[in-house]
Amino acid sequence: MHNDREIRALIAAMERGEPDALERFRTLYTPLLRYIIAPILSDPRDREECLADAIHRAWEKIHSYETARGNFSTWLSAIARNAALNRLRELGRQPQWEPLEDHAHHLADPSEGPEQVLLRNELAAALNRALSQLSQRDRDIFLRKYYYYQSTAQIAAELGLTLRGAEGRLYRIRKRLQKDLGGEWHD
């Protein structure tokens, strides 16, 4: 088992730029990075390039990782997700369900004015409140679908649901959020 001490040692080695740390990091976290990237990029070559990009980014940004702000795997998941979405943008493609320009909103955007930042924070707070009303399992399903872009089939297989069952569950989650957020989200 990789305990916290081992992971902290790995992070410290990466911060010091030790050569074998990259290999250890690559061996340990490649499955997770692939897992996050795969639902967003369908082409195997794009996935491999994105994986290399995500590993590079993690290596470069390791100094910005703060243990207090969250789990290392979560931090890496966000890096892999963003790398995949950026890759998608570079390829001139976009997921059919989402306007491409919205993907990077959570990242610091220097062009945003104070009003936009305030609005974004309010929308995020409203969504967070609504999500907190969901059960842990429904929240997990929601994040898999809307944050990690997993297909309904993948969600169903990993959670032991039938495809129809997962679709039904997502439908009910959407309806509930629509009810909870409807007033606040009207443009």
Partner: protein, 478 residues
């Protein structure tokens, strides 16, 4: 706002949230497998948990291996073994609700089945261990499966202990320690996967977890009571009968020798004819005339010995029933001649009938057809003998219900000089108090349990009849 617009807004605005962790996809499957293994290994013999927990455990094992079935050959094998385990467990639970149950729980079959179950679990653990090694290899990582290997080792050692049939406190303590080590290891297996678990390809499922669980546990929950109900009630294949009054002269002679009239009236002419030449007749009634029976069941019982020419004796057990059980459940009557304590050698042929009246018509049900395989070992002695076990149900609408069984015995040549009992027989009547008494019990099991302790799940009546030179034939009481 249309549903599609709202969907797009969700995709956009979830990005505003801080990153959230995704739960490891393997956790649920491995959690099911680990809990499944624990539940099928733990034996808690209270509140029927010894049946419920393994059933739930087998289901969890299947549900855990199901999404992993395409993640390598060992996990595929684990999936197949989990199906075998679930079917085996279901079969055992269902069979225990039938007359096959006592056969399953009797030695040596019980021990062999237990070994088979342990072997199956050990194979399951090995399949899990080797399957996890495959997952690590697929992830390009060094296998970290010490916990799973430890669990597998524990199971092998437990299997060896069971194979050795070792008994006593020390092996039991060792078994317990191994089991606790295995449980602790099982809880660590999921954690060992950490990052490698993301490399597992999950197979889609066509039937939801809820439906599988509902079907598996639901079928068991419905089938067990139905089987118990079915096998705790013996269908009465009744036929109309006529009261036979032939052999009037012989009947009169038998009455004069002491044969109780109410019993004789139930015997057929051919049965009476078989008593031609009777020399002596001894009859014992329970309870005694005038004595009020409060807890005796059946209402009246006669045991009769008819001494015939050629050192033969014919024995009759006659009973009448005045109470009708609420559910019309199976009645078990057992007559066990204790040959090692007596001077008779009974044959293994039992005759008898259940008789009752319904709407003024006499009906009969042949009890001899319900004769169970005779025991050849007797009651703990080395002398071969037969014990007679008869199952029947009382007729729901019947009046004046009574019945009798009879058997013949050879009197030993020197019985007249013996200072011991000439004939001793244990008589038992057993009746389940509820059709939900699980597992289904044979009369022998009721007898064994009844001697050990009282139970609210069945009622038993037992008595011993003795024929001694000086005292004649009498009910001795137990």
């Amino acid at each position: 706002m249309t549903d599609r617009d709202f969907d797009q807004l969700l995709y956009q605005r979830v990005s505003y949230l801080p990153p959230e962790p995704i739960s490891g996809p393997w956790r649920r499957a491995l959690g099911c497998i680990c809990w499944g293994l624990i539940l099928i290994t733990v034996t808690l013999s209270v509140l029927s948990l010894q049946y419920i927990l393994p059933a739930v455990g087998s289901l969890l094992l299947y549900l855990g291996f199901r999404p992993l079935r395409k993640a390598g050959p060992w996990l595929t094998l684990g999936y197949i073994l989990s199906i075998v385990q679930a079917l085996y467990q279901a079969a055992v639970i269902l069979l225990l609700a039938t007359p096959a149950g006592p056969v399953l729980t009797a030695q040596p079959l019980s021990f062999r089945l237990g070994l088979l179950a342990y072997l199956l679990r050990t194979l399951l653990v090995f399949a899990l261990w080797l399957g996890l090694r495959g997952v690590f290899r697929r992830a390009g990582q060094r296998p970290r499966t010490a916990a799973a290997a430890g669990v597998a080792a524990c199971y092998v050692l437990m299997l060896l202990l069971a194979l050795g049939e070792t008994q006593g406190a020390l092996p039991l303590l060792g078994f317990l320690l191994l089991f606790l080590c295995a449980v602790a290891g099982l809880f660590h297996i999921s954690a060992t996967l950490e990052q490698a678990g993301y490399a597992i390809p999950f197979a889609p499922v066509r039937v939801s977890t809820w439906l599988v669980s509902l079907l598996y546990l639901g079928i068991l929950a419905v089938a067990v009571p139905l089987l118990l109900f079915h096998f705790n009630h013996v269908p009465l294949d009744a036929s109309p009968a006529q009261a036979e009054t032939g052999q009037a002269q012989l009947r009169q002679e038998l009455v004069e020798l002491g044969f109780p009239e109410e019993v004789l009236a139930d015997l057929t002419d051919s049965e009476v004819a078989a008593l031609e030449g009777a020399q002596e007749i001894y009859a014992a009634r329970s309870p005694q005339e005038g004595e009020v029976s409060s807890d005796f069941r059946p209402s009246v019982t006669y045991f009769i010995q008819v001494n015939l020419p050629g050192d033969l004796a014919r024995y009759y057990l006659w009973f009448s029933q005045s109470d009708f059980p609420e559910h019309g459940l199976r009645e078990s009557l057992e007559v066990d001649p204790l040959t090692e304590f007596s001077q008779t050698r009974p044959g293994c042929d039992l005759q008898g009938r259940l008789l009752w009246e319904e709407g003024g018509q006499l009906y009969q049900f042949p009890l001899s057809t319900q004769l169970k395989s005779p025991s050849l070992t007797g009651s703990g002695g080395s002398t071969p003998s037969c014990s007679y076990v008869v199952d029947f149900s009382l007729p729901r609408q019947g009046e004046h219900v009574r019945g009798y069984v009879s058997y013949e015995a050879q009197l030993l040549a020197d019985y007249a000089d013996s200072i011991e009992d000439i004939h001793v027989a244990m008589v038992y009547f057993h009746r389940p108090a509820t059709w939900l008494d699980y597992p289904w019990k044979s009369p022998e099991q009721y007898q064994a349990a009844g001697l050990a302790h009282a139970s609210t799940k069945y009622s038993s009546y037992q008595n011993i009849v003795r024929y001694f030179h000086t005292d004649g034939l009498y009910w001795n009481g137990v």
